[in-house]
């Protein structure tokens, strides 16, 4: 059984249009309340996601069974709020959100430098909001998006990103994006991407994560080592209503010494350690609704409830 993420963000075209229109004037809190009605349906009908999340709750979370369902509910609620927060920003860019930045000076140091850098994140918290706390327009930010992402959402993001000097790079089958990434970094831009999901046949490495072996993509560190580009990690965590805390850490600096292969693995391990720390602190903001760990895949098959059945 393979990992199940398809590279597509869920969401229908008309539903997204409606939500975006709603947020021009509508209340965010009201839709937060609607989530309480929607989540039970997700728990019942999204069996794949539920099984994967239940394994996460059982193995990584609290061992007390009574705690599992509220924990899973909280994950779905946070996930729903994540989308609503994004759409609230897209639908009405004037809406105010507060960002508390941890290690702002580290980000500024690289942001004010001449060199481009890589910004890696994960499907934890609301990583796509990171661009909004950048107040100056010194560097162009190039978020890497999957071409399969819902069309309307992608188009809306592009139009909003333009105002923030953000130009997305779309991953396409032709591989042209590699040239775009290369050019973006060489011209001093920031390339950002989540680095926690393996997708199709992309290269990965296995590393313990929250107690179990998991596969993480390695390509981003290959790019960094090849181009001798520094890497920062960034995690945008929801801490309250319209409030986020942005964790910024250094994954590698500009001093690349030793063998490339070792540098790449070292960067990968550093990133996973930083991610692990954030997920431990905010376990209900981890959104990977498919078998993520090697052991998780094995368990879901051995239990006679094959994932996807």
């Amino acid at each position: 059984m393979k990992r199940a993420w398809s590279g597509k963000t869920q969401g229908g075209k008309w539903g997204q249009k409606f939500v975006l229109y709603y947020f021009r004037y509508g209340s965010l809190r009201l839709l937060y309340l609607v989530l309480y009605l929607v989540i039970p349906f997700y728990l019942i009908f999204d069996r794949k996601g539920y099984r994967a999340t239940r394994w996460y709750a059982q193995k990584v979370g609290n061992k007390n069974r009574k705690w599992h369902l509220p924990f899973i509910f909280q994950i779905y609620k946070s996930f729903g709020q994540l989308f609503l927060d994004r759409f609230a920003m897209l639908g009405n860019p004037k809406r105010k959100f507060d960002f508390e930045i941890v290690n702002q000076e580290l980000f500024d140091q690289f942001y004010h430098g001449e060199k481009g850098f890589l910004l890696v994140s994960a499907h934890v918290g609301n990583f796509e909001l990171f661009g909004y706390f950048i107040k100056e327009n010194l560097k162009t930010v190039h978020p890497i998006l999957f071409g399969g992402e819902a069309e309307v959402y992608q188009r809306m993001r592009e139009s909003l990103f333009m105002e923030h000097q953000i130009k997305p790079i779309i991953l396409n089958p032709t591989g042209d994006y590699i040239f775009e990434i290369h050019n973006a970094l060489q011209s001093g831009g920031i390339v950002s991407m989540p680095a926690d999901r393996t997708y199709n046949e992309i290269k990965d490495f296995t590393v313990p994560f929250l107690g179990y072996d998991a596969k993480f993509p390695i390509g981003v560190y290959q790019i960094a080592a090849t181009l001798e580009i520094p890497v920062l990690s960034i995690f945008v965590i929801k801490t309250g209503y319209k409030k986020f805390r942005v964790y910024i850490h250094q994954v590698s600096d500009e001093q690349f010494t030793g063998r490339k292969k070792e540098q790449v693995i070292q960067m990968g391990n550093t990133y996973v350690t930083q991610l692990e720390e954030v997920v431990k602190q905010h376990p209900t903001q981890w959104y990977n609704f498919f078998p993520f760990w090697d052991q998780q895949i094995t368990d879901l098959i051995c239990n006679g409830k094959e994932y996807g059945a």
Binding site: G175, D176, Y177, I178, F179, I181, H182, E201, I202, K203, G219, Q222, I223, T226, L227, K260
Partner: protein, 81 residues
């Protein structure tokens, strides 16, 4: 630059950096299917070509370059033009 010199440089890079086995390197080898050069490896290819041969690869020029031999031809043509 002589073709043999180009081949030597490219092969050395493919063996040392991309870790492709030497015996797989022949002119008919398909870059993707036979040699397993994926899009990420191409970042290395772009950088090494720029460093060793002094020009930047343009993506549109690579669309018909499917085999290692065609890649040697492409480099040779660009270097000697």
């Amino acid at each position: 630059m002589e073709r043999s010199e180009i081949i030597e440089k490219i092969n050395l890079f493919l063996i040392e950096e991309i870790e492709i086995e030497e015996e797989l390197l022949n002119e008919e080898a398909l870059l993707k299917e036979d040699l397993g050069i994926d899009s990420l490896d191409f970042v290395d290819v772009v950088v090494i070509v720029e460093r060793e041969f002094g020009f930047k690869i343009k993506p549109e020029e690579m669309t018909n370059v499917k085999t290692l031999g065609a890649f040697y031809d492409y480099i040779e043509k660009k270097v000697n033009s």
